[in-house]
Symmetry: C2
Subunit: 281 residues, 2 copies
């Protein structure tokens, strides 16, 4: 039984127009190769990463995506605001301002924020520094027409990547920032375990800026590279997709998979598998 059998609102061929390849999934591909791969596969959107864009050069990457006609669904990533010194925090903010500029040049309207972790044991201070950091870059985001997507990360990353660990916490933060320029990114890997997930997805109505698919593999071995292809793990992806759809989110759906085995697979095969699994949601 597929999603299409149970929910007339989900039309998998219509959904295919919303599919986006997040570049993290094809780690060995340059921007040029990923763009060409999307065109061959008929995937209409791409989520770019700053390190890949830097390798290619911002101007050349911009030319490649413009000429391709692909939609750029997001640029990953800004964030990483907390730091031990005021000087280092200023440096992080400057880097985020550059990321906003790069997003605008690349023609996307969304910068994904991985907010950063505590540089010491004080997680509340890290959370305050995250809020200060987003507030500091917000005026330029507004001026540039770039939305800021706060991505809550799985609590496994609380000490190293993001002190923002639940959708509810991200929404509380966004409530306080009080700007339509800031919203959330929902990644099924990061949120699937949350007892409050469906209530918080409902609460996120109108504030969902991006939606990422992958899966949680069992057993977990490497916490960084245990993400899997949709359908290979334990996440109720169809249920989460329906809940996000029900909020009225009809934007891009990025497939973002950090997995060594997938990185070692030829990219065209990975994209074919993504399309197959996506059509079965």
């Amino acid at each position: 039984v597929t999603r299409a059998d149970t929910d007339p609102a989900w039309d998998s061929s219509a959904a295919m127009t919303r599919l986006s390849l997040n570049q993290a999934t094809t780690q060995r591909w340059s921007v040029r190769e990923a763009v060409a791969g999307c065109l061959r596969a008929g995937i209409p959107s791409i989520g770019l990463w700053r390190d890949k864009v830097a390798e290619t050069g911002l101007d050349e990457a911009t030319r490649l995506v413009r000429e391709s006609g692909l939609h750029v669904s997001s640029l990953c990533r800004g964030g990483m605001f907390p730091a031990a010194t005021a000087e280092e925090r200023r440096t992080r903010i400057e880097d985020n301002l550059r990321a906003i500029d790069e997003a605008a040049v690349l023609g996307t309207d969304l910068l994904v924020l991985v907010c950063g972790a505590a540089p010491d044991r004080d997680i509340d201070r890290a959370r305050a520094q995250i809020e200060e950091g987003i507030a500091a870059i917000l005026p330029q985001a507004i001026a540039s027409g770039i939305k800021l997507g706060v991505e809550p990360l799985h609590p496994i990353y609380a000490a190293e990547r993001s002190a923002i660990v639940t959708l509810g916490q991200a929404l509380d933060l966004i409530d306080r920032l009080d700007s339509p320029q800031v919203g959330v990114i929902i990644d099924v890997y990061h949120v699937w375990w949350d007892p409050n997930l469906y209530a918080q997805i409902g609460r996120a109505t109108g504030r969902i800026l991006g939606f990422h698919l992958n899966d949680w593999l069992v057993p977990i071995i490497d916490p960084l590279l245990s993400r899997g292809m949709m359908g290979d793990g334990v996440i109720e992806i169809g249920r989460i997709v329906r809940a996000v759809e029900a909020t009225g989110y009809h934007g891009p759906i990025e497939v973002e998979i950090f997995n060594q085995e997938i990185w070692d697979t030829p990219g065209d095969d990975v994209l074919a598998r993504i399309k197959e699994r996506f059509s079965q949601l």
Copy 2:
């Protein structure tokens, strides 16, 4: 600055009377060796594991702890309620009833529950099966004078060990079970990342049955064995200790560390380190 300097309510020599060695910390020691180690170190309590008790034999383990005069702070572990078939769930419940009997024989009043994960993708069904399982064993727990400690586990374990992943969720479950025989176990490793932690510790007042210390090491490499000695990681242990104390919990404080390097260290050295770090909280 140690806890004793900042908080007159914390008296580290008085706290030492509450220190308990959870057997998981000294994986290579039998019950006999762990009991002898606690006596040598002057650690007054021990938390036992069922697999270790079974190796020694229940009667012999009981004799060893009784003759030692050690307090048995808990028996680990019951739980693991969700299963694909009704027959398997019944088998799990029978195992929990045996665990209650063993706890009573060993002279502890606390059975720690690691509640179990979904056997399939349906995490809500797993959560319902956990609640049904605890309700099924509750009458015998009451009759035997054994309290049931629901231990929320870090969300990293949601797919493999426990669909109960936050303190708030555990308290919601306990609210519904509505029995003073059921409470929570707070383990700093499992809860430190939670944005609602301190509010939920306050809410747990009167329902905290056990308290476990260890630390979260950075970087995380092995999700099962990355627990560290207090002070070696990033958890604000002193702050959590103070919050738990403030609820009026003055029961045993178990040190439970799953870490291969610690398992490979001579047990007496591990216990000396535990006492040193515990006195510095």
